[in-house]
C-alpha cells in the first residue's frame, strides 16, 4: 500500500482494523464519522514504480527505452512501452505519444475539459439583468457557438434555448424602448 487511507477532515491515518467496515466509525483524530474501503489493487505494486531493467533475453523491451522491460502494449499503436511511458484512458493502456496525439485531436476519451458555450451564453443573457445590451450580445454568441459545446457526458439542449429565449426577450425590450423614445421625441416636437 503506497498511501494510507486517512480522514479527509483531519488527515489522521485510518488503521487497517477500521477498513471495509459495514458502518462508519469515528475518526481517531477528530471523531468525525469516517468510512474507508481498501481494495486489492491497494496492495499491488505501485504503477509509478521505477521501470524494471532487462533480466534476460527474449523479453519485450520498451520502444522508447530499450534498456527497460516492457510493461504493456499501447492499445492504439501496438508498441511495447515501459511503466514510464504508459498512460491510460480508462479502458486501455496507451503510450504517452498516442495520449498526447489523442488529446490534441479532441477525442472524447482523451478529453480533459470542455468549454460550455451554452452556459456562457445563458450567463451573459441572465446574470447582468440591468444591462440591456448584453442580452442581444448573448443571443449572437449562442447562435455563433450553437454546436461548439462538446462535452463527454450528455448535456441538456435546453440551456442554449433558454439563453436564446432570454436574449430575445431583452432584444424585444430594447426595441420597445427605442420605439418609445422615438414616439416621445416625435410627440414633443
Amino acid at each position: 500500500m503506497t498511501a494510507m487511507p486517512r480522514c479527509n477532515l483531519c488527515g489522521v491515518d485510518i488503521p487497517p482494523e477500521d477498513w471495509n467496515r459495514a458502518e462508519a466509525l469515528p475518526c481517531r483524530g477528530c471523531e468525525a464519522m469516517v468510512q474507508a474501503w481498501v481494495f486489492p489493487a491497494g496492495w499491488a505494486e505501485a504503477k509509478g514504480k521505477p521501470p524494471a531493467a532487462l533480466t534476460g533475453e527474449g523479453m519485450a523491451t520498451c520502444f522508447h527505452h530499450p534498456a527497460n522491460q516492457a510493461e504493456a502494449a499501447c492499445g492504439l499503436c501496438g508498441r511495447f512501452v515501459c511503466s514510464v511511458c504508459v498512460d491510460g484512458t480508462g479502458d486501455q493502456a496507451v503510450c504517452n505519444t498516442c495520449f498526447g496525439r489523442g488529446t490534441a485531436a479532441g477525442e472524447p476519451r482523451f478529453q480533459r475539459r470542455a468549454t460550455l458555450h451554452d452556459s456562457i451564453g445563458l450567463l451573459m443573457a441572465a446574470v447582468p439583468l440591468m444591462t440591456l445590451l448584453t442580452g442581444p450580445v448573448a443571443g449572437t454568441y449562442t447562435l455563433a457557438t450553437w454546436k461548439k459545446t462538446r462535452t463527454v457526458v450528455a448535456r441538456p439542449g435546453a440551456v442554449r434555448w433558454m439563453a436564446l429565449a432570454i436574449s430575445a426577450l431583452w432584444l424585444a425590450v430594447l426595441v420597445g424602448l427605442v420605439v418609445l423614445l422615438i414616439r416621445v421625441g416625435g410627440g414633443s416636437r
Binding site: 479527509n8 487497517p16 462508519a24 496492495w43 480508462g90
Partner: protein, 302 residues
C-alpha cells in the same frame, strides 16, 4: 457520449459542482466550473482505496451566507411600494432559496480516492446521500474489476451498501434545536405584540402551511433515505422559522397586517388561537423529539 451513466446528482456548490458517472470500466468525475467541464477518469482496476468522511452541515460559511441573504431580503422589504419590493427581492430571494435548497441536500461529506496515479478528491460525493447512492454501485464495479487480484489475509472483506449507519450520530443537533426553539419563541412573542396580528388567522396559517409541508417533505425524505428523524425535524423547523421571519418582515409595515384578507370574521379569530397553539406545540414536540433522537444517537455512539 451516451456510454456514461450518471451515478449521483450534481453536488451542490455556488461556483463549482461535480458529478460521478460510470463509464463501464472506469469512474468519470465531471467537475463543472459553470462555464467549463473538467474530466477525471479513475479505472476501477486501479483504484486502491476510497474514504468518505462525514462533514458538518452547518459551517460558518453557510450560516454567514444565510444571514447575509436574509438581511438583503429584509432590506428589499423596506420600501413601501410593492412593485419596488418585488423588484429588489428577486436577486436576494433567489440566492436565499438556493441556499435553502443547498441546505436541504442534507449532511455533507468529503470523499477521496487513492488510485494508481495518486490521491484525488471525489467532489461528486458531496453529500452523504450521494455517497449512500453511489458507493454500493462503485463497490460492485470495483469488486468485479479486481476479482482476479490476490487479497491479503489481513485485509477485511468489502461490505458495500451500508452507508446509512454513518448518518445516525448528529452531533450539533442539540445546539440547533435549542437555537431554533429560542428564536422561534422570541418571534412568536414579537408577533403577538401586534394587536392587529391577533385578529388575523391568515398570518399564522401562511407560515404554518409551508411549515407543515416542509415537515412532510422532510419526513418523506427521512423514510426514503438515511436521514434521522432529528435531522429532518430540525431542517423543517429551521425552514419554518425562516419563513416566519420572512412573513413578519413582509407584513410589519402594513397597516392591516395581512397578506390576503383585510378583515376576518369572529369565528376566524377563534381559530387563530388554535392555529397559534398548534404552531407553538408543534415546535415543542419537534424539539423534544429531535433532542431525544440526538440523545439516542449519542448513547449509541458511546
Amino acid at each position: 457520449m451516451s456510454e456514461y451513466r450518471l451515478l449521483t446528482g450534481w453536488s451542490p456548490g455556488w461556483l463549482r459542482s461535480a458529478a460521478l458517472y460510470d463509464g463501464g470500466d472506469h469512474l468519470l468525475q465531471v467537475t463543472s466550473l459553470r462555464v467549463q467541464h473538467e474530466y477525471q477518469r479513475f479505472p476501477y482496476a486501479e483504484m486502491r482505496a476510497i474514504t468518505v468522511t462525514e462533514a458538518p452541515l452547518w459551517t460558518t460559511g453557510r450560516v454567514v451566507r444565510l444571514l447575509v441573504f436574509t438581511l438583503l431580503l429584509v432590506l428589499a422589504m423596506l420600501p413601501a411600494q410593492v412593485a419596488l419590493r418585488v423588484g429588489l427581492a428577486i436577486v436576494p430571494g433567489t440566492l436565499f432559496l438556493l441556499q435553502l435548497w443547498s441546505l436541504a441536500q442534507g449532511r455533507r461529506c468529503v470523499a477521496r480516492v487513492i488510485s494508481s496515479s495518486g490521491e484525488w478528491p471525489l467532489r461528486g460525493l458531496g453529500t452523504m446521500r450521494a455517497a449512500a447512492e453511489a458507493m454500493p454501485q462503485i463497490l460492485n464495479k470495483l469488486q468485479a474489476a479486481q476479482a482476479g487480484l490476490p487479497r491479503p489475509a489481513v485485509m477485511p472483506a468489502l461490505l458495500p451498501g451500508k452507508m446509512e449507519k454513518a448518518h445516525r450520530h448528529p452531533r450539533e443537533l442539540g445546539w440547533a434545536v435549542a437555537a431554533t426553539l429560542v428564536l422561534s419563541a422570541l418571534l412568536i412573542v414579537v408577533y403577538w405584540t401586534r394587536a392587529d396580528a391577533r385578529k388575523e388567522i391568515w398570518n399564522v396559517a401562511i407560515f404554518l402551511v409551508p411549515g407543515a409541508l416542509t415537515a412532510t417533505i422532510a419526513w418523506w425524505r427521512m423514510l426514503r433515505r438515511y436521514e434521522t428523524v432529528a435531522a429532518a425535524l430540525v431542517a423543517a423547523m429551521v425552514v419554518d422559522l425562516l419563513l416566519f421571519v420572512f412573513f413578519l418582515l413582509l407584513e410589519w409595515r402594513r397597516p392591516t397586517f395581512s397578506l390576503t384578507l383585510a378583515e376576518l370574521t369572529l369565528a376566524a379569530q377563534q381559530w387563530q388561537k388554535v392555529a397559534l397553539a398548534t404552531a407553538i406545540g408543534w415546535r415543542v414536540v419537534g424539539a423534544a423529539a429531535a433532542g431525544w433522537v440526538a440523545q439516542q444517537g449519542g448513547e449509541e455512539r458511546a
